[in-house]
Symmetry: D2
Subunit: 146 residues, 4 copies
């Protein structure tokens, strides 16, 4: 991609502001890795505060990360002044979620006026190794007004 | 129900031990409200560290709580020495999740040798008011050995 | 319940008309068992034309029945002149679907202006025996105009 | 791919035999379009017997087709003498399902000893136009013995 234009910079700012406004994302330690129209990648570094009983990332952390990545992906396509809510999502957990960090990619499959559908994929990154640990689908609703 | 017998006390101990072993549950502040064979209720008091951009509980917190309640519900029926993993779950978010605390009920619908299916329900408790904020379905797999 | 009033009779007529307009429901042999505001029960008698490779009802037949029961359940609450579309649904198949007939119950959990969420349950009826063969969740959208 | 080898021909025969053994697939008119290890494409020509109340393909037909495509995709990877059951699936309906025929692609994402996860995609084909009408996820279980 070429350098981001003004529209793109505006989208980046809106997503960054939204992330800062989410207490849970700060509490878990979620970082933005990449923002493009219709696709957002988030990163979650490993911490013992994120684990389940085997010491892997808890499915709840994996899912929270994926849900947020998808919500942001939809949000990049929504009109100024609107907000986004998840109405439903579904995750299949494919492999133990471990590694230095998780990476979640939310990608808009279908963008509608009211409903937007996203594909969610989470990868466990361990040095050079990248494992597909979860995949999911999500429905977002676009709400007018903040 | 009458007073818990030895079997029941053993189940309670196993669930409490498992909760303590989950870093994410401590980090979010999850508490056990009720443990019965095939049904576990968890509680999550409100904190700003759990919110999304409107100040409600984040769907990720709601889902992590529900997933864990269902996992424990299945775990109460699993043989000694086995462990539980979520293979998939799906949540429908019915209403904004706010209140003093959330309450998540995981209940086994179908208990099989390999797979166990749970219904997940989350309520937002605000003083005397109790709102159904999310419902879901979950598949657990029983793994032999710790 | 007491005898149906005029409103209820109108709902029954709307659901019956909608069923007749659905080629697939006639092709499978679906019958209406019970219509109440927010809850519709459909019945599907066994036929070899509905089977999978073991001679049980095919998951596709089970799911089509459940999806339609839920769609009708939502439709009973929708304003005159509107129509209903399924935006997503999820089924967990709990047991082999066999018996003289299937019975699917669609029940509205949350009725919203735009989106309505239903619980779907399917039972296999074999003489006096009634087995819970599938459970699911569904999101419906209310569309204005036919 | 080069011409199918003996293993591949054996897989094709097993899928064709399984389709013939499924009464519902014959009743709907489902045809095999393509069989590869881990990926199966099915086709469903339009008939008035497959419609919902607007004259489009019924979501139940779309889902039955997708579920079967995924089941076959998993089946191509299962050991001889085993059989496949769907334990759960979820569909998001993206657009009205119309056209001359539907095409459903089931693709294995994760192949495990017990559980196999598939992605399901359905397209409405209308002359040269191809619309993504549904996407889904599915869990299959491999059962030993017929």
């Amino acid at each position: 991609m070429s350098e981001p234009d003004a529209l793109h910079l505006d989208i980046i700012r809106r997503v960054e502001d939204s992330l800062k406004a989410q207490g849970l994302m700060r509490h878990l330690g979620v970082e933005i890795a990449c923002i493009r129209p219709g696709e957002v990648t988030l990163r979650l570094p490993f911490r013992p505060e994120l684990t389940q009983h085997h010491g892997f990332f808890h499915a709840g952390a994996t899912s929270a990360l994926a849900d947020t990545a998808g919500g942001f992906a939809g949000f990049t396509l929504f009109p100024e002044g609107s907000t986004v809510l998840t109405t439903e999502f579904k995750m299949n957990l494919l492999a133990p979620a471990n590694g230095d960090h998780l990476e979640a990619v939310g990608r808009v499959i279908k963008h509608g006026r009211t409903l937007t559908i996203c594909q969610l994929d989470v990868f466990g990154i361990d040095g050079d190794s990248r494992t597909h640990v979860a995949t999911g689908l999500q429905t977002l609703i676009c709400m007018q007004g903040d």
